[in-house]
Symmetry: C2
Subunit: 239 residues, 2 copies
DNA sequence: CGGGGATTTGATAAAGGTCAAACTGAGTGG
DNA sequence: CCACTCAGTTTGACCTTTATCAAATCCCCG
């Protein structure tokens, strides 16, 4: 984080996406107590939000931009465990120290972080805060379960189709069929556990079928959403 | 659940494994308030604890035995999203209705269930309960993150090795190298996103290498744990 | 002692990983 | 302003791995 931090926190910006569209209960509380603890940080592309083996100081919520949660093995291979988009809380999964690292994928990514001990104390005192944290954790679980189903897909077409649908759902541009992919093809490959070349080939295949179209390498337009859904074998229909 | 339910709840049995060995803070509280809400159920092999599309009535904790969390697609394929072992909480990931089903894998599996609304109210009133639920949710996240790394493994040997190590870690027989696999080869295949035949072949390969040995189809003995760890490429070393 | 699902083994073919090379596009310096 | 650079992306050829189909074997349970 090489830029100045906004110690004077702007509540409006951070609360903006506190209740994701997929959440069932949409509370109208203007400013959750938890947000008073938030410290906003700004990150450049590739810059780490936290590193592997770091101590557990904070919980996080991505405000704007995008980030990847990844593990790196001794032999250089990388596993991307999750992508974080606006509204996503992360950093819940570790107990002793960070098992993974989190890196921004787009310039100027904004991340709110909540000092863990203060947040825990606040949760003890304020049931609403405790409920918010629970909800954030449950949403994180739901996200990973959907992802598990996606990774379970066996063929490349199925995986990439499921991935595109996921990105479309989690994208901000809900109304449009245009989806911005903030990550590289390598990131997608490590996310789906496939070779980069296969990712590229599969995207080309979908383009030839006119299921998708490109307006730039990272701007994909979903022309035939039903075709994508069919390719995912109905497993993710109701997810 | 075709057997009688223990409405008169036995605290000792349920608290038994409340704090898994991997949890950092091992609280000595003899009976968490949450446990007073628990209703114990007993399930036969294959019997559902809950079904897909069920409403969200409870949270659950597996007390003894084992269960699988699975999704079934229209074309009959099945994805196993998680295995549940003693001490594991589950049922956190859904908001509107159950997206997956949970089925017991061994006869006489015991599951404690906590009425969700009562548990939420209790959490609001008792910070310690709220903390326990948070911890359970965070452990669930940690479990899935480890699994994500495992699913990310590309080769069959890597996946099966990682699986065996996971089962060993989560098994009750911590002292011994003997691991009981409560699930069928089909379950393993659906868990690792591979064909049954490949699972079987890979286990045979590991047996021939004398990395593992069998005392019955579902009783595996890990002869050379380091060999298994090496096969997982160090990705799961510190997980 | 069968019966039938679970497991293992075998043969084959398709899918995807790997290596290699060409292409693209954004940023850099002449 | 344009050539240059280099990482990211795409395409091609080849070959390993694993899914698939088929059949034999095991073993749990009545």
């Amino acid at each position: 984080m090489n830029l100045t931090e906004a110690k004077t926190f702007n509540p409006a910006m951070a609360v903006m996406s506190f209740s994701p569209p997929d959440s069932t209960a949409c509370r109208d509380r203007p400013l959750a107590a938890l947000e008073r603890l938030a410290i906003l940080g700004r990150y450049d592309t590739g810059e780490p939000v936290y590193r592997c083996n770091d101590s557990i100081e904070h919980w996080y919520r991505l405000v704007s931009g995008a980030a990847r949660l990844a593990a790196v093995s001794g032999d250089g291979r990388r596993r991307i465990v999750d992508f974080e988009f606006p509204g996503d809380f992360f950093g819940f999964g570790d107990f002793c120290s960070r098992q993974f690292c989190v890196e921004a994928m787009v310039a100027g990514t904004l991340v709110a972080r909540y000092p863990r001990s203060s947040a825990e104390r606040l949760a003890d005192a304020d049931p609403q805060t405790a409920r918010n944290i629970r909800k954030a954790a449950f949403q994180s679980i739901a996200r990973m379960q959907r992802r598990m189903v996606m990774l379970g897909q066996t063929s490349a077409l199925e995986k990439v189709s499921a991935f595109l649908l996921e990105m479309s759902d989690r994208s901000q541009h809900c109304a449009s069929s245009a989806v911005f992919l903030p990550m590289s093809r390598y990131d997608i490959a490590d996310y789906l556990a496939m070779a980069v070349e296969t990712v590229s080939r599969t995207l080309t295949e979908l383009r030839i079928r006119q299921t998708i179209a490109f307006r730039g390498v990272r701007h994909v337009c979903i022309c035939n959403r039903n075709a994508l859904k069919t390719l995912t074998s109905g497993l993710t229909d109701r997810l």
